[in-house]
């Protein structure tokens, strides 16, 4: 059916409004205003973490530590149970007259596995909380956005936000002294 249809322009819809800033100070103050205006589905894109931005955006403290704590306990118990199973239960061998399973003897193994599991929890927990890897995002549709990993700072307000209105949001972002504002569209079909 697509063969008979003439080549038509792909259907697009507005995904977000993107404002570009030249300095960290400008983007920090703009982020404070966006938060005060009551937007919820919005983000700041910067080439490096900016000091004070979490507060300016009103973000809660990261909960990553809880994942890591669970993984640390899991690592410790895995190490102890592995030692207990292998040397105490399945095939105890007496070396130097010591019992097969003697809890303090394998302390280095407990420590290393605790660290190993915690590190996995940290890295994969962080990517999970950030919903990465995600190779497609409407913000990449903007041609100017490549500078977000170089030397420019961006604020994006998404169309899914309850307060979003293309013209009003655009006007609001223009009032925050950006160097550029654009409406970014994504292809739907």
């Amino acid at each position: 059916m697509s063969a008979e249809a003439p080549r038509r322009a792909p259907k697009k819809r507005v995904a977000l409004v993107l404002a570009e800033f030249d300095t960290t100070g400008d983007v920090l103050h703009a982020a404070e205003k966006v938060r005060e205006a009551g937007y919820e589905k919005w983000d700041v894109h910067t080439p490096f973490p900016i000091h004070g931005m979490d507060k300016a955006m009103g973000l809660e403290d990261s909960k990553l530590g809880y994942i890591v704590a669970v993984m640390a306990i899991l690592g410790l118990t895995s190490a102890i149970s592995m030692y207990y199973f292998m040397n105490g239960l399945d095939y105890p061998i007496i070396i130097g007259g010591k019992p097969g399973f003697s809890p303090p003897a394998a302390f280095p193994v407990y420590f290393e596995l605790t660290v190993l599991f915690s590190a996995f929890g940290t890295v994969f927990g962080m990517f999970h909380m950030n919903k990465l890897p995600r190779h497609h995002h409407p913000v990449f549709e903007s041609d100017r956005f490549a500078a977000a990993t170089d030397d420019k700072y961006f604020i994006s307000i998404e169309a899914e936000d309850g307060k979003f209105d293309v013209e009003k949001t655009r006007g609001f972002l223009e009032s925050l002294h950006p160097s550029n504002v654009e409406v970014v569209e994504e292809v739907v079909s």
Binding site: V44, H45, G52, M86, E112, T122, V123, N130, R134, F145
Partner: protein
């Protein structure tokens, strides 16, 4: 969160040369991977590849003939294989020290060298891991090292330090690799966004995992970075401690000492910094990174080498004192034999390289003299290799029974195996500096004056905790 406080807020001066803007950092560091490689890189790469060839040939012959081709003999069961293992693991420690310990201590200057040093850690640990793998002599039985049952259903002994060593070095390698990759994600995104060819866009795009610099991401990212640093700090101290347990838990005069764990860790950091220095001086020159890796960075590294070198010297002295104080005839004999016996040449080479040579760094003009620090960094690495050789071979070569005394002669295959691991190391390293951002772009940017939202906007109420030096630096920025 405050783990990335602006440079002014902690009362420090700028770390890069004036005029080095955020844009310049991107251009310089990403440019290394984008521009054609300088001629120097190709020359070094050719040399590294030929050493890699030596490695391949030697390992092939070793598998064919067995470890009998090495000089290991009846009293000296551990020779160059374990010396090289300990030496390479030790070199890795500087990378973790720079990336984790200095991070926890808020040492911003680490940003210029941490990526580089972390890469060195990973490649050095790869070289180290080769040795336990090949020195068992029967490569098809290398699984004996892992917690797997053998053909009779017997599991490894968890009370053995050799098993602890596997867990320690294995964990260390894995965590270092994760830490390195996490640091690289934002920089891969920078390379992705600058890429001109579809191949680069695909490869760097895949590695960047779709990173879009979102502050909601940075928040978790910074926490993850802090947690990894907090995990790596005790980890790095544990690794060489556990390596030293391989010796310290044995009842062997010269090995059976409690000073070994801290002594090994200090020596590891010492040799690691020396290796970072050697490599950094070459790369900084080849790729023109003098404005990012400044003389201040080199000066600080030399100070760390002075401290750790002196710590190592203290350990050498304390070992002698303890041997005398123990009253044990065997212990006393081993140490007298070490310094004045048939291996006196190795012992005094070690002392001159490790204890005497870093003492030059008390003087500021020596700390800032590039040819001198280059030579000393190489001398230190030679000395640290001798340290491991002295510990291993002098303790073994004269056993409790004089009838079993012997002398260790390295063979051509010992030498080729060692040189071959340099081929592995430098091939990986040269590929790294060519294709991966060798300086942490995002982290260096965050230390610039430009990155400070208050400095760039001229806020007057900024940084109530700033040290007196800060206002001057503000003035420069504006």
């Amino acid at each position: 969160m405050g783990y990335h406080e602006p440079i002014n807020a902690i009362g420090e001066q700028s770390l890069v040369h004036p005029g080095t803007s955020i844009k310049v950092i991107t251009e310089t560091v990403a440019g290394v991977t984008e521009n054609p490689a300088p001629k120097g890189w190709w020359m070094l790469f050719a040399v590294a590849l030929s050493f890699l060839g030596i490695f391949g040939g030697t390992i092939g012959y070793l598998m064919w003939r067995g470890v009998g081709i090495w000089g290991n003999n009846n009293p000296v069961y551990w020779g160059w294989d374990i010396t090289n293992f300990v030496w390479w693991v030790g070199i890795g420690h500087a990378g973790t020290l720079i990336s984790a310990v200095l991070f926890l201590f808020r040492q911003k200057w680490r940003t210029a060298i941490n990526r580089f040093a972390e890469a060195m850690t990973i490649f050095a640990v790869i070289c180290a891991l080769i040795f336990p793998g090949i020195h068992v002599g029967r490569p098809w039985l290398a699984y004996y090292m892992f917690p797997l049952p053998n053909q009779m259903g017997i599991w490894p002994n968890f009370k053995s330090p050799l098993l602890w060593d596997l867990f320690a070095v294995g964990t260390y390698f894995t965590v270092s690799l994760l830490f390195w990759f996490v640091g690289l994600v934002p920089d891969f995104a920078t390379l992705r966004d600058r890429s001109k060819t579809p191949v680069r866009r695909m490869v760097y795009g895949a590695l960047a995992l779709g990173w879009r610099g979102s502050n909601r991401h940075w928040q978790h990212y910074e926490r993850a970075y802090l947690l990894l640093a907090a995990l790596s700090t005790p980890l790095v101290l544990s690794v060489h401690s556990v390596v030293s347990f391989d010796f310290a838990t044995s009842v062997e005069p010269g090995w059976h000492t409690t000073i070994f764990p801290p002594y090994f860790v200090a020596g590891a950091v010492f040799s690691g910094f020396a290796m970072v220095m050697t490599l950094l001086l070459v790369v900084r020159q080849t790729f023109g990174l003098e404005h990012i890796v400044t003389m201040k960075h080199l000066d600080l590294m030399n100070k760390i080498m002075l401290v750790t070198g002196t710590l190592v010297g203290y350990a050498y002295g304390m070992e002698f004192f303890t041997a005398w104080y123990s009253g044990s005839t065997y212990e006393r004999y081993v140490f007298m034999n070490r310094a004045f016996g048939p291996y006196a040449w190795a012992y005094w080479a070690m002392v001159s390289c490790n204890v005497i040579s870093p003492q030059f760094f008390w003087v500021k003009s020596f700390r800032q003299n590039i040819p001198l620090m280059f030579i000393i960094s190489i001398v230190i690495n030679i000395g640290m290799w001798f340290e491991r050789f002295v510990i291993i071979v002098t303790s073994l070569h004269r056993d409790f029974i004089p009838g079993s005394w012997g002398y260790f002669h390295a063979t051509i295959w010992d030498i080729c195996t060692y040189l071959g691991t340099f081929g592995v190391f430098f091939t990986l390293f040269l590929l790294f500096i060519r294709w991966v951002p060798m300086i942490a772009i995002a982290e260096v940017k965050a230390t610039l004056q430009e990155a400070d939202p208050h400095a760039s906007h001229g806020d007057k109420h900024a940084h109530p905790h700033a040290a007196p030096a800060a206002p001057v630096a503000h003035g420069v920025a504006e």
